[in-house]
């Protein structure tokens, strides 16, 4: 699939190889499908809030076009150059996150997570890209260090800073978790020994389970924090049908009412004011309602193919930096898709994670396309296998 089969190539192509065309096709397919679904899911609420019915569609289309430009740029760029900007990427991310505290910061839907720089920009999305570049380069340069516990702890310390900043400054736990998880898995893959990582991850899962147990058995009242309340709503959404469980429950209604083949494209009734953020975090529930389990399976298969292509690129990259870079991208996509669908199906407590390329969100799209661009750049220098 990624083999450059053509025997006659231009000079340039011989130098850089050919990008993974299947990956490009999958991404383009997801983007177009996402635009259709955004229009379907958002037309009603757009009009309800006094916009044109295609308000969200056009906004997403603009971001997508910018994103495609960025993707093209990164795919033509020799990814080794990025190594030189590793520290720049790290600190730029931190600074951008910190800038949210300045008057440049922007509040949307009661959450201060955006920067107003002509366009609205979510620094957490920049940070995800920045951290992938930084840690790929850092691990490359400190391969021996990350083999000892002390080195690992130090590296994790590096990773914890942006994650904590995202959590503390923008109050965005889900992005913090994703940033930390991407870095953690990159380290896990790069490190020769697995045991400490697995133990540490196991410990985290244990702590999380304990928190859930504590909430479930009402030892600590859920009113202490809204996150605990979300856990409560997650365990029993019906009991909080008009409050914290509303979004989750409405999403479940959408999924359940879709059936095998769904109600047909555009035929969702749940998007008519019932599922909040239907074009955003919860868009997967609208896909289930309109296209049914069949549609949901098709979307999941597309993402599996996307992740598989990234896996192939990562395992066949000519050098460690390229591999780690794509490992980071792959991890990012896998986590984001899994967590989004898990939240929509109430397998995990509700937290704001978008579905790559399909959910409405400009910053997210642009930076995800940048990551795909990097992966394409790596794919162009693949060894013939």
């Amino acid at each position: 699939m990624s083999n450059p089969r053509a025997t006659v190539r231009s000079k340039k192509e011989r130098r850089y190889g050919i990008a993974d065309r299947s990956l490009i096709f999958i991404v383009l397919f997801l983007i177009v499908f996402g635009l259709i679904m955004i229009y379907s899911a958002s037309a009603y609420s757009a009009v309800r809030s006094g916009h044109n019915s295609n308000y969200y569609l056009m906004s997403q289309l603009r971001a997508t076009l910018i994103g495609l430009g960025v993707m093209l740029f990164f795919s033509r760029l020799d990814y080794h150059i990025l190594m030189k900007f590793a520290w720049t990427a790290y600190f730029a991310s931190l600074i951008l996150i910190a800038l949210v505290l300045t008057p440049l910061g922007m509040t949307v839907n009661g959450a201060r997570r955006w920067l107003n720089v002509g366009l609205s920009l979510q620094p957490a999305e920049v940070a995800k890209l920045g951290m992938i570049i930084f840690f790929a380069a850092y691990v490359c340069g400190n391969l021996r260090r990350v083999q000892h516990l002390k080195g690992i702890m130090k590296t994790i310390g590096f990773a914890a800073v942006p994650a904590l900043m995202v959590y503390a400054i923008t109050d965005n736990l889900s992005s913090a978790i994703i940033i930390f998880a991407i870095i953690y898995i990159m380290l896990f893959v790069a490190s020769p020994n697995s045991a400490p990582y697995i133990i540490f991850a196991g410990a985290l899962v244990g702590i999380a389970s304990l928190v859930v147990y504590v909430v479930a058995s009402n030892i600590v009242p859920a009113e202490v924090s809204y996150r605990l309340g979300r856990i409560e709503a997650w365990l029993n959404p019906e009991a909080y049908a008009s409050g914290r469980g509303f979004q989750t429950l409405q999403a479940l209604y959408s999924i359940g009412s879709g059936g095998v083949l769904g109600k047909g494209l555009g035929q969702s009734t749940q998007k008519l004011g019932f599922v909040p953020e239907a074009q955003n975090d919860m868009i997967f529930s609208i896909i289930c309602e309109e296209l049914g389990m069949f549609g949901a399976l098709a979307v999941i298969l597309l993402f599996v193919m996307l992740i598989y292509h990234l896996l192939i690129i990562a395992t066949n990259a000519p050098d460690l930096f390229g591999s780690l870079l794509v490992t980071g991208v792959m991890t990012h996509f896998a986590l984001q898709v899994l967590l989004n669908i898990a939240v929509v199906t109430n397998a995990l407590p509700n937290t704001g994670i978008t579905l790559p390329f399909i959910s409405y969100g400009g910053s997210s799209s642009v930076f995800l396309l940048a990551e795909i661009g990097m992966a394409l750049s790596v794919s162009r220098s693949l060894k013939v296998s």
Partner: protein, 783 residues
């Protein structure tokens, strides 16, 4: 993979880890897919319903209008009227921090005095997110319009006052004026079933209490035809993205046009009522009879003109049994039910003491029941479901009984038709006949000596009939009995018909059975079976399926379905029919000494018929069902009237047949001129006198009059003021009073000719054209 020259390589262990991670991701996806499938499988149906239920705020049901029921002249007997339920939308009323609540409540209080405004206030303030709470039901449209007008007025007054205050610079005061929330209260449409004539034809029409679900009679039988399909109003976004409503109109139900005639029905019910009042407490304390049934029909096509029973109930409020005779049904109740009805506490169990003391627990229980039956009153039974069902059901089709002597013409017709007898035989009646061990008596225990078959019918002689039946044999008798439809449903289009099959004779019948069967004892029939069978007997032998609905029309009046009179079979030949009719004519038209039915004859008419006096079970109780089946004119029957009185309140029930013949006569005397069937015989002075008295109370078929008037284009002035036209009938209902009594119009008849008189001039009118009759012609009318 080589490790040596390039230190910074993605090693195979790293690759393995990554592949393992990929498989972990695949597993996670697999779990999520299973989870999605699981949600669909376990909760799919529930969530689909939930999703639809949530939509109800945006889409509302538009109720269909249930079809009407009309009589043959277009008089509306049942219709659905649009009414409104008051719905409070607390959410919309509470906008602007509740500024609109008080002004809205003020208007509500003024418009709907019965509404508990304090309760609405507390509901709205404590449930500000509620969108739907029903407060008042079945409001008439006038009150809703009145409320809306009040709201409009107040809003416009407020806006004028605000403008004035603003001009004066009092902006704050102007802003303090709050309008009532127009959207905070809305009215949900609903249809209410209304029966403009309350009790008229209650057993035939049936009723609807809730949910367009007909109970009894036509309402139940034609429930699906009368019901339409609900419409819906949806909110949706159009191409421009504006919220639009689309309406799928409700499809109204179909209207039934029946063969019933409101005037004939009213005449029958009036006379039944008079009978019931005259005979109440006549012999024993209680109502005039357990049941009274009257069927008036056209014997030539099976169409029912009227079907009346007693007691009657108000279709607009069927649960209310006030003023309805119920005690005669008390016997239907078990002892426990009776005790419940009387408010007595049940003994926990039959105590051992009572068993040992009298040793006859069963007797004591039945004795108890008899005592209880003495105690029951109409009031104590008025809430009992079994009793209510007994009142609601239609005696004419749902109850079966032993017909008695009205069966005799059937036996004779069968015997002549299968050539077992010629009809000219003579039999000797000695007052009784010995069959095996039994001695079966005649009504006249002394015997009438030699009797022809015709005389046997006229005098209602059992011995003659037994001889005729023996000549036939049980096989032939059974064949004819079944052919006449006894023991099977007639298929009349009313709910709740009984076939009497459980109490019909079979091939196993013995000689004694045949003997009693010949004169209508030992097996059960329903009134409608008798009337339909007798029609065939006298109309030339054709059996028509009895029917009430003649046409089904849609809300635009187009015919959806038409029921043509249907000859099911020819049972006897025309000659046999003529013979039997001649026999039956002798029942009424012979010398009073020689016949049993002469009291049934309406003055001036030639009539035929047959009386019946059947002993009820147990025979020892000496209770009877008396009946009379009559038809007019005798030579060419146009109308058949069958009267049944079950257990008459009379000292000597066995000789009370007169009650039935007189009831029949009273009804026919009034119905016949209405049907434009006029007397052919000269009246005696006494008859003229009686007729004049009777005519003072006559109902007149106003429809016939007004229709005829329209036909000959008589000017407004000369039309008698007695039109209850279709429109007026409908208007009466539309007023929403729903209490309109059937108000008949009284017309005078000339006692000499029986022709109608012009109410203004007193001139004799032609019954068909309603034109004054020429003097020359008139003289011909005098007998």
């Amino acid at each position: 993979m080589s490790k040596e020259n390039r230190p910074k390589q993605f090693t195979s262990s790293m690759q393995k880890k990554l592949v393992v991670l990929f498989f972990v991701v695949l597993l996670a996806f697999a779990y999520l897919i299973i989870r999605i499938a699981g949600i669909n499988r376990d909760k799919g149906e529930a969530y689909k319903k939930q999703v639809l239920a949530q939509q109800s705020y945006d889409s509302t049901t538009l109720p269909f209008k249930r079809g009407s029921i009309e009589d043959k002249n277009g008089t509306v007997l049942a219709y659905s009227e649009k009414v409104y339920n008051l719905i409070v939308d607390a959410k919309l009323m509470s906008v602007d921090d509740g500024a609109h609540i008080e002004p809205t409540l003020e208007v509500l209080q003024k418009a709907f005095a019965e509404l508990d405004v304090a309760e609405v206030r507390s509901f709205v303030t404590s449930n500000p997110s509620s969108s739907y709470k029903k407060y008042l039901k079945l409001l008439e449209s006038k009150r809703v319009e009145n409320y809306n007008a009040m709201i409009d007025q107040i809003i416009s007054e407020n806006s004028i006052r605000r403008d004035e205050l603003k001009k004066e610079g009092k902006t704050e005061e102007a802003n303090a004026i709050a309008d009532p929330a127009r959207n905070g209260v809305w009215f949900e449409e609903e249809y209410r079933r209304t029966y403009p004539y309350n009790t008229l034809a209650c057993d035939v029409i049936g009723f609807v209490q809730t949910g367009n679900e007909g109970q009894y009679g036509l309402e139940e039988y034609y429930n699906d035809t009368l019901n339409g399909t609900n419409g819906r109003s949806y909110g949706y976004l159009n191409a421009d993205g504006t919220l639009t409503r689309t309406v799928k109109e409700a499809e109204d139900g179909y209207t039934l046009i029946t063969s019933l005639d409101t005037n004939i029905q009213a005449i029958a019910e009036k006379h039944i009522r008079e009978f019931a009042e005259d005979n109440r407490n006549a012999y024993r304390t209680g109502p005039a009879a357990d049941n009274v049934g009257v069927i008036i029909m056209n014997p030539n096509n099976g169409e029912i003109y009227a079907m009346a029973g007693y007691p009657v109930f108000n279709l607009n409020n069927p649960q209310n049994m006030e003023g309805v005779d119920l005690v005669q049904y008390a016997n239907l109740l078990s002892k426990d039910d009776l005790m419940d009805a009387l408010g007595m506490s049940k003994p926990d169990s039959v105590s051992d003491d009572s068993l040992s003391e009298n040793n006859l627990p069963i007797l004591s229980v039945s004795a108890d029941k008899a005592e209880l039956l003495e105690l029951v009153t109409n009031e104590s039974l008025s809430n009992n479901g079994i009793i209510k069902n007994a009142v609601w059901k239609n005696f004419c089709i749902s109850d079966t009984f032993e017909p008695g002597s009205t069966m005799k013409p059937f036996t004779v017709a069968g015997a002549i038709d299968d050539a077992s007898i010629t009809g000219n035989e003579t039999y000797v009646c000695n007052g009784a006949l010995d069959i095996g061990e039994h001695t079966i008596h005649c009504h006249n225990r002394f015997g009438d000596g030699p009797l022809t078959v015709k005389q046997g019918i006229a005098k209602s002689c059992n011995v003659v009939l037994m001889d005729v039946a023996f000549a036939m044999g049980k096989k032939e008798w059974l064949r004819y009995n079944r052919n006449f439809g006894f023991g099977s449903l007639t298929g009349i289009d009313l709910a709740g018909e009984s076939s009497g099959a459980a109490n019909a004779f079979t091939e196993k019948m013995g000689q004694t059975d045949l003997a009693v069967a010949s004169f209508g004892q030992g097996f059960n029939v329903s009134m409608i079976q008798m009337a339909a069978g007798f029609s065939a007997l006298i109309n030339g032998g054709d059996y028509y399926a009895p029917h009430i609905v003649t046409r089904v029309v849609n809300n635009e009046g187009a015919i959806v379905k038409e029921y043509e009179p249907k000859v099911v079979k020819q049972i006897v030949s025309e000659e046999v029919s003529d013979t039997v009719r001649e026999f039956c004519n002798s029942v009424v038209m012979s010398d009073p000494e020689e016949c049993t039915g002469w009291t049934a004859r309406p003055a001036g008419y030639m009539m035929g018929g047959k009386t019946g006096t059947a002993e009820k079970l147990p025979r020892s109780a000496k209770n009877y069902v008396i009946s009379f089946m009559g038809y007019v004119p005798a030579d060419d029957p146009q109308v058949l009237c069958y009267v049944v009185i079950d257990h008459p309140n009379h000292a000597d029930q066995g000789n009370a047949t007169r009650l039935a013949t007189l009831l029949s006569r009273d009804i026919m005397t009034e119905v016949l001129p209405y049907l434009n069937i006029f007397p052919t015989q000269q009246l005696t002075e006494k008859e003229k006198e009686e007729l004049t008295d009777a005519q003072a109370t006559f109902y007149i078929g106003s429809n016939a009059v007004s229709q005829n008037a329209a036909m000959v284009n008589v000017s407004e002035d000369s039309v008698p003021e007695n039109g209850t036209s279709k429109d007026e009938g409908a208007d009466q209902g539309a007023d929403g009073t729903g209490d309109a009594e059937y108000t008949p119009n009284v017309i005078q008849y000339d006692p000499g000719t029986g022709y109608p008189l012009d109410p203004n001039t007193g001139e004799i009118l032609d019954p068909v054209t309603l034109q004054p009759i020429d003097e020359n012609v008139r003289s011909d009318l005098e007998y």
